[in-house]
């Protein structure tokens, strides 16, 4: 009797041990799988960097550092330089940011200070929906609706307005093509607006109510509270949002490809067609014949990767700083 129960207990012990071991094993496997996936994220970014360096090696070793300072882009003589696309990328992104930042901050102020509460969420969502629209949609809209509008109304007016003013008249020199650097900048501004707005709104919400209330208490107007309390308190976060928008603008491809005109030259006029790094790659990659042509395009990609990596890393660093402050 007791022997039987002893045997039963020990067999129960054994199955129990086996079960625990099995649990521990499955747990180890699951843990290893999650860890491997996390490491894969790092491997992806490393892989991107390595493959871009490998793919651009031929062009970089042939042209060297002068690749960065050469304007010529000639597939026939196989002489390539990145200056025009780099110039176009930086100019369009910079103008886009200059336009989008004040509007983005304005919308954020409107949403946090002025907007009636029931409207706040719908308007916030509507602005964020702008962020979800694929860039090719902005492209087709820019090409068929926005560019003709600029060409027939805005651009002739601006050309006429600045005709006699030195400096400005070469910056806005005609003829009005509709497509070009300025059109791309405006489309980019619309595209980065939601990113800047939503981050600015989020960091505005982190301002302690007590700070704002004490400013209101000594008789400040809403604008003075925004200007003297909210914006100084959230400066780092706003900068992070702006950098994030800049990162998007620099790498934006399809919308720009539609409206920039793809001309490999640097013109003083913002109305002239130009090109950006991503637009050049998108337009020419599948048609590139010859190893050096393809390699030069990958080298452009590498430059874009490095620029955006630095900008985005800075953006994340700034946003982390404001996160840790509100967390503390």
């Amino acid at each position: 009797m007791s022997a039987v129960s002893e045997a039963a207990t020990s067999s129960a012990m054994r199955t129990r041990e086996a079960t625990v071991r099995r649990f521990a094993f499955t747990d180890m496997v699951f843990r290893a799988a999650t860890r491997a996936s996390a490491i894969l994220v790092l491997v992806l970014l490393g892989g991107v960097a390595i493959s871009l360096i490998a793919g651009s090696w031929e062009a970089l070793s042939k042209f060297g550092i002068s690749f960065l300072s050469t304007e010529s882009w000639n597939p026939v003589t196989e002489n390539f330089g990145a200056l025009a696309p780099i110039y176009g990328t930086i100019v369009t992104s910079a103008i886009a940011i200059i336009i989008a930042v004040p509007i983005g901050i304005g919308i954020a102020v409107f949403l946090t200070e002025l907007c009636p509460r029931p409207l706040r969420r719908p308007i916030g969502i509507a602005v964020e929906l702008l962020a979800g629209i694929p860039s090719i949609i902005y492209g087709i809209w820019g090409l068929f609706v926005f560019a003709p509008f600029l060409q027939t109304t805005i651009q002739p007016f601006i050309i006429w307005l600045f005709k006699g003013i030195p400096g400005l008249n070469s910056l806005f020199a005609g003829p009005p093509y509709g497509i070009g650097l300025l059109t791309s900048s405006l489309i980019l501004a619309i595209m980065v607006l939601p990113f800047i707005t939503s981050i600015t709104k989020d960091v505005f919400d982190t301002v302690p109510a007590v700070l704002k209330e004490s400013a209101y208490g000594i008789g400040c107007t809403t604008w003075e509270v925004t200007r003297r309390v909210t914006i100084p308190y959230t400066r780092v976060g706003i900068m992070g949002g702006v950098m994030l928008g800049l990162g998007r603008a620099l790498g934006e491809t399809m919308a720009v490809t539609f409206v920039i005109g793809n001309a490999h030259r640097i013109s003083a006029s913002l109305f002239a067609p130009g090109t950006t790094i991503s637009a050049t790659i998108a337009n020419e990659f599948t048609e590139a014949d010859g190893a050096i042509y393809t390699s030069s395009l990958v080298a452009l990609g590498l430059i874009l990767f490095i620029i955006t990596f630095i900008i985005l890393a800075l953006a994340r660093y700034m946003l982390l700083r404001i996160d840790s402050r509100t967390g503390a």
């Binding site: 843990r31 860890r35 996936s37 994220v41 002025l114 949609i137 107007t221 790498g251 990659f285 990596f309």
Partner: protein, 283 residues
């Protein structure tokens, strides 16, 4: 006394001006959305017909539809999601559960946030170097892999965020009745965070269904019906790109219709995703 009153007046005026500018800024934001959606509806709706969904992309100058492009987009999106989602969910699980305080998590989170906003054309170049060049030809599978690389960071981010919101007391209760860690994660944490994780997947679908740049030189394009994953495949965004820049009126019309289809899909997905998390917040 007079100066104090006038100072008060000028401060009030300045406030009114700045606040009016803010309202105008919000108006501009909403007006753009309305303008773009309006143009899309106006130009796209006129081309919507049964033929769009039943016929292949036409040769220049002919009437036709977008069937092969729609099919290609769906196939590559599904493969991209099926490949990318498990990796993203597992990585997010590591960051929120096993390695919440580890150094690796901090690094992965930083890199993942950069991948999240990295230019998608760079991902296209990467997959070109990784798959297209060694295989020697463009293929749908390369396009799907490029899309899955875009899915991963979105899913990682939302999974980690949502798992972090699950109260620790739930996990402790699971552990207290003797459940091993992976059972707790699977049956408690995943279940509590389910709607958030699904939101992340929906947002990822919304993101990749409109992506053009990574497909340009991975899946390329195809004028004809093809279900061969090892061959070039048409997709809606690339077809729109090709047709919109063409001089043919029929092609441009199809591009507008395709753009409308993509936009409605993407907006629909993000609204569903938002309403899922919205409900959770209310509760």
């Amino acid at each position: 006394m007079a100066t104090a009153a006038s100072l008060h007046q000028s401060r009030k005026r300045k406030n009114a001006v700045m606040m009016a500018l803010c309202v105008i800024a919000a108006g501009i934001g909403l007006a753009w959305l309305a303008l773009i959606l309006g143009a899309l509806l106006y130009k796209g709706l006129s081309g919507v017909s049964l033929a769009v969904f039943t016929q292949m992309t036409p040769p220049p100058g002919d009437a036709g539809g977008l069937l092969n492009a729609i099919y290609g987009s769906i196939v590559m999106t599904i493969i991209g999601i099926v490949v990318g989602t498990p990796i993203g969910v597992l990585a997010g699980t590591y960051m929120a559960e096993y390695g919440r305080f580890s150094k690796l998590t901090t690094v992965v989170r930083f890199i993942n946030d950069i991948l999240l906003s990295a230019p998608s054309i760079i991902v296209g170049l990467f997959v070109y170097e990784l798959m297209v060049r060694p295989m020697g030809h463009f293929s749908a599978i390369a396009g799907a892999v490029a899309l899955s690389i875009l899915v991963i960071p979105v899913v990682v981010r939302t999974t980690e965020d949502m798992l972090n919101l699950v109260p620790n007391a739930l996990r402790e209760a699971g552990t207290a009745i003797g459940a091993p860690r992976w059972v707790v994660i699977r049956s408690v944490a995943y279940r509590a965070a389910l709607s958030g994780i699904v939101t992340g997947i929906l947002l990822a679908i919304a993101r990749i269904s409109g992506e053009t740049a990574p497909l340009l030189f991975t899946a390329l394009n195809n004028q004809f019906w093809s279900s061969n994953l090892n061959a070039p495949m048409a997709s809606l965004p690339v077809t729109i790109f090709q047709f919109a820049l063409s001089p043919y009126e029929e092609w441009q019309q199809l591009a507008w219709t395709g753009a409308l289809i993509i936009t409605l899909t993407v907006l629909g997905l993000s609204i569903i995703a938002r309403s899922l998390t919205g409900r959770r917040e209310d509760r």
